[in-house]
Symmetry: C2
Subunit: 352 residues, 2 copies
């Protein structure tokens, strides 16, 4: 935990005293006041996050963390665990949805092995940061030790720092890992907190029987690890995942660097929730890209009073929702930066 | 009306027999079946619209029609009519929101004077297609003659044909014109049909007193023109607008050419409604970009059972929502075109 304290200490609330100036600029652009709705909020939040009322846009990057979950052996997913390494190779070859969408928006993609069971031989282009060859089965004991969770968080920290150094000004999260909605639901249930059934869905597409079974597996995981759920970090270790810990670290370090983060879907939001429980001010630096079709994501947004940007019934992960939302956020910041003002364009204001 | 019949006759329902093949391809991409949700529907609809199961993306274009409304003299808008020409100059100089967003998505922008009261001297880059120097005051009589409405529709037809000839494969609508939510609400009330109050909002930002007044002006307009509201074309002429008629023509001719159209906000949807009442099959060729913050737009979507792509509280028009949605649609089509299949990527399918 000591290794995380400097990062947590560096996360400070945004300076809300800038908001009046930011809003005055938005109101002076050649459009009716407030007529760009949520886009104006996105632009204002981007300014607040960076602490800059004349923000500059640089590179966009999505970091997709990949990890396995021994709890998959309990039959909680529609796909076998062998799909995790297969999808890594697919992403490295450019064939996955996230490849198409990062290319579409002009963003970099980093694929990170933070905990895949398979050794991923010959996977060229892969960022090799394996902390552990998949988590242990959380329905029988903790998924990770606290040390392993911290190590995975620090992988995310490293990649956030690298992004900042590389001139990234908008950073997206992504993940892939068969069965990873299961630990995510466990984290929501424990950290919101709320009943498991309210935050558990069909993942990649399980039927009713498997869904009932999945809920029982999650409930059992929370019981088995009950004495480890006293703080966010040990909860993450007990019922989380390596890719979730990596995203959590990415978010924490980005927030500490005032680098705006776009949180992808259900699993990334679970990581964001852990980060928010570790540091309340983290939320100031987050955009939530979309409301997933995974049952429970809407519960998360409602309980936390957060408005996601898109609502397209996505439930793929990888960073796909983050990619689409990053383009909207970038558009909002360009509106702020590039539109004419009433004065400069000689446009009349409102009637009195 | 005779001049429109060839276009109306050319609009045929999409060939739904292609859908099985399109869905089979989507289901064979390396992602859980259906996990890209509404994006998959957008891709499938794009294929159906073009009648092509291997669609090619070309240029994107937004056509922004500008017109004035003598009903503005009744005090229904927060801004004076002089803003219409000022905003035309602003758009031509690149300072408006639609300039920023078309540049952001890599689309062309055409700004069309179809009915601005001001002569717009020296407005270089403007497409000059003025049918009339603004509509007449619809609260005292018809806004246009039927001939004028047809002439304005034919301007839209011409520009849709030009877009198809120029290699545009995704066409967005846009508009600008002080007071143009007023005729739009009148069209909704008459063509949905429903009470005026359900489809009338604050436009650019009027207060409660002006909103009550605006509703009365619209109700009076529908009364004064009651004998002209028997068919969609004469309704458009009586209580519509020149830019609305232009958009209607653009939509009709694009549908006839199987060129997918992205409908912008409240005013563009009113034009789409007229087009849908002129030809039922038009709907097959339309994407609705967003649900506007303008009260009544949600009513329209609910009554017609249409799902808009975005919901960002936009209420600016110009084509701004269309621009953002075009990027999402383009991403969906790229997903369809560019992702690897399970076979090609060697990824395992679902467990049985």
């Amino acid at each position: 935990m000591e290794s995380l304290l400097p990062i947590l200490d560096a996360i400070t609330p945004v300076d809300r005293s800038l908001e009046a100036k930011i809003r005055a600029h938005l109101d002076n652009l050649t459009k009716p006041v407030g007529s760009l709705g949520f886009l104006e909020d996105l632009a204002a939040n981007y300014c607040l996050m960076t602490g800059n009322i004349t923000p500059q846009l640089g590179k966009k990057r999505i970091v997709t963390f990949v990890g396995d979950h021994a709890v998959a052996a309990e039959g909680v997913s529609a796909y076998p665990s062998e799909v995790t390494p297969q999808m890594v190779y697919n992403m490295l070859a450019g064939g996955a949805a996230i490849n198409v969408l990062t290319k579409h928006i002009g963003a970099d993609l980093q694929v990170v092995d933070i905990g895949v069971a398979n050794p991923l031989e010959g996977a060229s282009g892969l960022l090799r940061r394996k902390v552990k060859a998949g988590t242990d089965n959380m329905s029988r004991g903790p998924a990770m030790t606290q040390e392993e969770a911290i190590q995975a968080i620090l992988v995310g920290v490293e990649l956030a720092h690298a992004a900042a150094d590389d001139g990234v000004t908008l950073l997206g999260t992504g993940e892939m890992g068969i069965a990873n909605t299961t630990p995510s639901s466990a984290l929501y249930a424990s950290l919101i907190p709320c009943p498991v059934i309210e935050v558990t869905g069909r993942g990649t597409g399980i039927d009713n029987t498997r869904l009932r079974h999945k809920i029982k597996v999650i409930e059992r995981s929370l019981e088995v690890n009950a004495n480890l759920l006293s703080d966010p970090l040990s909860t993450l270790a007990a019922v989380g995942g390596l890719e979730i810990a990596g995203i959590c670290g990415l978010i924490l370090a980005a927030a500490a660097k005032k680098l705006p983060v776009v949180v992808d879907g259900f699993i990334s939001s679970a990581a964001a929730l852990v980060a928010m429980r570790l540091s309340e001010s983290v939320l100031d630096y987050l955009f939530f890209s979309h409301c997933s079709a995974e049952a429970g994501h809407r519960t998360f947004f409602e309980r936390l009073g957060i408005r996601p940007i898109l609502d397209l019934d996505l439930r793929l992960g990888e960073g796909t929702g983050a990619a689409l939302a990053m383009h909207v956020i970038e558009g909002a910041v360009k509106i702020y930066n590039e539109m004419a003002t009433f004065d400069s364009a000689g446009v009349s204001g409102k009637d009195n």
